[in-house]
């Protein structure tokens, strides 16, 4: 056997040698018989030269493939995979957010009614007061402009000219001022001798009037300047007069108040920890104690009201004396049915809790006084809780017993809506309208800014056309609001602007962004692009190489010919 195998092996090797021999025999005639592998290639037969028409045809084939890829393939791929991004005026939006687009100015017209003065005297007084005012004012955004109302003007006509406040100058014994509690009127009495002469450059009466005006509008100024400073307004708009304490109290107050909404939903709830009382006279109580204030607020907000009675409601804190920390956990959110109402309007909760718990105020407060007064507390941006001690066998709570709680609710409602605290009610409300329009304006601007930053930060987010529409509506309304700031149209425009900005920002199709990691894209593209792209690319490269070679040869040929 071994012998046989050897023979086989021998035969195989003989075969290979013979084949080599044949190759070399073919190669032999063309080349010198040096042997050596390197030389065999050069010894191979050259293919016949290609016809130029074939070369041209190949070029056309490759070119047409590439034309199809570039003119048809790429556009289709681009069209199907691109993310639609509507054009947003990004720089303008950022300008709004930075406060560069609008300088909020609140020109307030104040008319002076001086029926007992001569035209000349009144004009002079007005000029001097305006001077005094301008000297006092350090905040350019809030501007008080005085004007003289014609002496014959009737009471009813006064409201139409849009003055924020009317000053009635009445001759009297001494210099006093009183704010009318029911109308935006400031009554100032003056002794006749304080009327400045036409030539004098200063007058005590003018200074007095200016200071009075300034104190009346001090809070509004402070709030507006606080609003401007809390939003990123450029520093030259900011007033300097805001002390840290004032800013602190203002920030407390603004965090307490609810976000502006055209409609608020008021929910009055009676909670008891046991089965009694199971009914109350809330309808009558609201009609008597709260309705007047709601009516006054109606130009700014609408209110809807509902009431409920809930028995067996155990509070979140069981102790008899509530400390400050307990107040935040008193509401048993898990069990009490205080879900916000359905629909867009935010809900303000007013809770009467029947129980004899007492609130233990801060230790430095005098015990007796606090025990009597603190029966209620305000939960920022949410509502109010009022503890109502009742005998345990009461089955029905009468409207009279609800009086105190409803009055508390009313005052808390004003602070929850962000109404300023000083001044007469009409003044406070007109101030509220101005604050709200400034607030909305700033809010809408900052939303625009956020949207612009979002669009810049996420290049793969799609921006539908509706967002662009929303942005343009917002901006046009913002512009209008900025022009008419301080007036009722300003509030209306700011409202629309804010709503549109929110709608644009929370566009649904923008939120649901599909996430495609790059690896997935690779996994999808490689199987197709690899086998197709490589021959295409190599074909192109070879063709370019061949073309350059041909050109060189042609050049050499031409050079030779010339020689």
């Amino acid at each position: 056997m071994p012998a046989r195998r050897q023979i086989d092996n021998g035969a195989a090797s003989a075969k290979t040698t013979s084949s080599q021999a044949t190759v070399s025999s073919i190669a032999a005639p063309n080349a010198p018989s040096n042997g050596g592998v390197a030389d065999t290639t050069s010894t191979r037969k050259q293919p016949p030269p290609e016809k130029p028409s074939d070369v041209r045809r190949r070029t056309y084939v490759i070119l047409s493939f590439w034309v199809i890829v570039v003119l048809l393939g790429l556009p289709i791929w681009w069209e199907t995979t691109t993310i639609y991004r509507a054009n947003l005026p990004l720089s303008e939006m950022l300008d709004w957010a930075d406060g560069k687009a609008c300088r909020p100015v609140f020109p307030l017209r104040i008319s002076i009614q001086a029926n007992s003065l001569h035209e000349q005297e009144a004009q002079n007084l007005l000029r001097l007061t305006q001077h005094a005012l301008d000297d006092l004012n350090d905040f350019s955004g809030h501007h008080l402009r005085l004007q003289l109302s014609p002496p014959a003007a009737k009471e009813t006509e006064k409201d139409d000219d849009g003055a924020a406040l009317t000053i009635r100058l009445i001759p009297g014994e001494s210099t006093t001022s009183t704010l009318d509690p029911y109308a935006p009127i400031l009554d100032i009495t003056y002794p006749p001798h304080t009327i400045p002469s036409p030539s004098s450059s200063s007058s005590s009466l003018a200074t007095y009037v200016a200071t009075q005006l300034r104190t009346t509008f001090a809070e509004e100024q402070a709030i507006i300047s606080y609003l401007l400073s809390s939003h990123s307004m450029p520093s030259d708009h900011r007033p300097q007069g805001l002390t840290p304490e004032a800013a602190d109290s203002l920030s407390k107050r603004t965090t307490r108040s609810l976000k502006y909404a055209p409609t608020y939903h008021l929910t009055f709830s009676l909670f008891t920890s046991g089965p009694l009382p199971s009914s109350w006279d809330i309808e009558a109580a609201i009609a008597e104690f709260m309705k007047p204030v709601l009516d006054v607020l109606s130009p700014i907000h609408n209110f809807t009201i509902d009431t409920q009675v809930q028995l067996y409601a155990t509070p979140g804190v069981q102790s008899q004396v509530l400390t400050k920390e307990d107040l935040s956990s008193f509401i048993n959110a898990a069990e009490w049915p205080l879900s916000p109402s359905i629909g867009g309007a935010p809900t303000i909760n007013f809770i009467v809790f029947v129980g004899n718990q007492t609130i233990h105020a801060a230790p430095q407060g005098t015990a007796d006084e606090t025990d009597r007064t603190s029966q209620s507390w305000l939960i920022p941006q949410w509502g109010t809780v009022y503890l109502l001690p009742l005998p345990s066998d009461t089955t029905h709570v009468s409207a009279e017993k609800l009086k105190q709680s409803l009055l508390t609710f009313t005052s808390h409602l004003l602070s929850l809506t962000g109404t300023p605290q000083s001044g007469s009610l009409p003044l406070r409300l007109s101030t509220l309208a101005r604050i709200r329009s400034a607030d909305l304006l700033l809010r809408a601007s900052s939303t625009l800014g956020s949207l612009a930053r979002l669009a810049l930060a996420l290049p793969s987010i799609s921006i539908p056309e509706s967002v662009a529409d929303g942005v343009s509506t917002t901006m046009s309304h913002l512009r209008l609001a900025c022009e008419t700031l301080g007036g009722p149209e300003g509030l209306a425009h700011a409202r629309v602007a804010e709503a549109e900005a929110e709608r644009a920002f929370f566009e649904k199709s923008m939120v649901g962004q599909l996430y495609f990691p790059d690896e997935h894209k690779l996994a999808v593209y490689i199987p197709l692009l690899g086998p197709v792209g490589v021959p295409l690319l190599l074909g192109l490269l070879n063709e370019i190489k061949a073309w350059r070679k041909r050109r060189r040869e042609r050049a050499e040929h031409a050079a030779k010919k010339r020689e």
Partner: protein, 606 residues
Amino acid sequence: MRQLFSLFLALLSAASLSSAASDYHEQLVLRPLPLSTLLASFNFRSNITLSSFEAHNFDLFPRSLAQILQHAGTRELHLRFSLGRWDAQSWGARPWDGAREGGTGVELWAWLEAETDEEADQKWRTLTNALSGLFCASLNFIDGTRTTRPVMSFQPEGDHPNATMENMHLLYGVLPHEVVCTENLTPFLKLLPCKGKAGVASLLDGHKLFDASWQSMAIDIRPVCPSGGECVLEIEQTIDMVLDIERSKRPRDNPIPRPVPDHELKCDSSKPYHSHGTCFPTDYSAGQDWSLSQIFGKSIKETCPLTDPSIPPVCLQVPESRSVYASQGSTEKKNPDRMSRCFEIEPETGFEMILPRIETEDPAKSAAVELVKPETPLLYAERSFTGHGQERGGVQTILRNPSLDTEVEFIYMESLPWFMRIYLHTIEARIEGHFGEQEPLIKEVYYRPAVDRARGTQLEVRMRVPPASTVFLTYDFEKSILRYTEYPPDANRGFDVAAAVITILNPEKNGTRFAVYNMRTTSLLCSLPTPDFSMPYNVIIFTSTAIALAFGGMFNILVRRFVAADEGPEMGSTIKEKLGRRIKKLIEKLVKGKTAEKTAAVETKG
């Protein structure tokens, strides 16, 4: 003047409130059933006058629900959460004649007031979304494909003025896949005026309720106009559950079932092989004994003070002869039908009840003494799939009329998902054993075909079952193939098909009630052809390979030049040799560089 007015208002509201407060009533009915089970039916009913409802003074009416009703323009609402299967063979007729029961999962139907169908759809969406939030259920998944507008099966239960009747749209949605659990019970209890804190509601506990063999929670809201009185909006909350007594009696802290010790085994001594070592267990129902606290884990602590005192809060349906021990402060009142008794509980006292075991020698006799014999239902129904394979299937419903002399006429309603395309021509009803000519069983068919991905199939059949006969209702369907993203994560489990609704019509056509009995079949699990979910990538690879093959071949044929084998470059001398040559060159370069450096160094030295 104003004060006088407010006083008047106060008087008015006080009057209405006092009447409203007494309008609340709650009742628990306990009915022992065969096979050691117990049916507990809780019923809570309260109402609010329509005028104060519209004035948003909800008082004890649940505000969250009331606001939803107002916002969605809902005039009447029925919501059901159910779990398990009612075993009609042994338990008999359903409680409330099936009117407070739904199919497995969640069922919702409501009459909405709307001018157009689109508006009704809009309101329906609002309603389902809001209820979904309120009851922590996936009701928001009731979309167009799961909503139908039944034509024959439902009639409003409340009293609606004719003006609103014209604009009322009935919409019906069902979620058979929803698993009802504790998170649905908690909001349900919150709607009660006494919460779960007092009265019979304090017995309700998620652990017990969802451990039941069958349970159904129902909320029904409808306007009721008593003759001569003011219209009220009535909310009725019902919980029915069938408890397995043995299982309920297991202590909470030791819930694992263990084998009964030898000496506690109940054996049937009449069997011939009965001896010390062998035991044939007796029928379960022999000797049902329990107490409230054993079954529910607690007894009633105090009564809800708002309840109408004229309605006894707890009733027990056992034969009159059976003795029952009740705690002090309660009075037992036997009802004239001799089959039930009720307990009146004095205010502010608790209640506990013990049903002792009856010791009898003859187990056959004891059943009659112990239990009220379950009422036979008007109809038995069973539904199942027939056929095989992934492409086609069939549905067969077996309807049996147990009555010997009365015919049953009813409406059979199916709302099927769109991916079950039914062949209406195959619908057939035949009586078992009859093959000749017979009076048609199907009287009327309402069919609304499915639209892919937009609407499900709605099939309503008015048919009859003759006395003492069984009818097979069958039809075939085709399964469609879903899109990749339409499969749920657990696609191989199958797709739930909602229960069929059977409404047995009142034989007296002008009777007050439209339906005398309602029932649901069980829900079905339909398996669809499920793809391999790595499919898209496979498809990409496969098509890419095919394209690459075709393209590569064609491109090469077009571009390459073909020469004889001895004319081209040699095969062996391609990449390998090229590489070798390159490397050689590189090495040579390096060596040369080094020697050049060396020579340079030598030269500088020299």
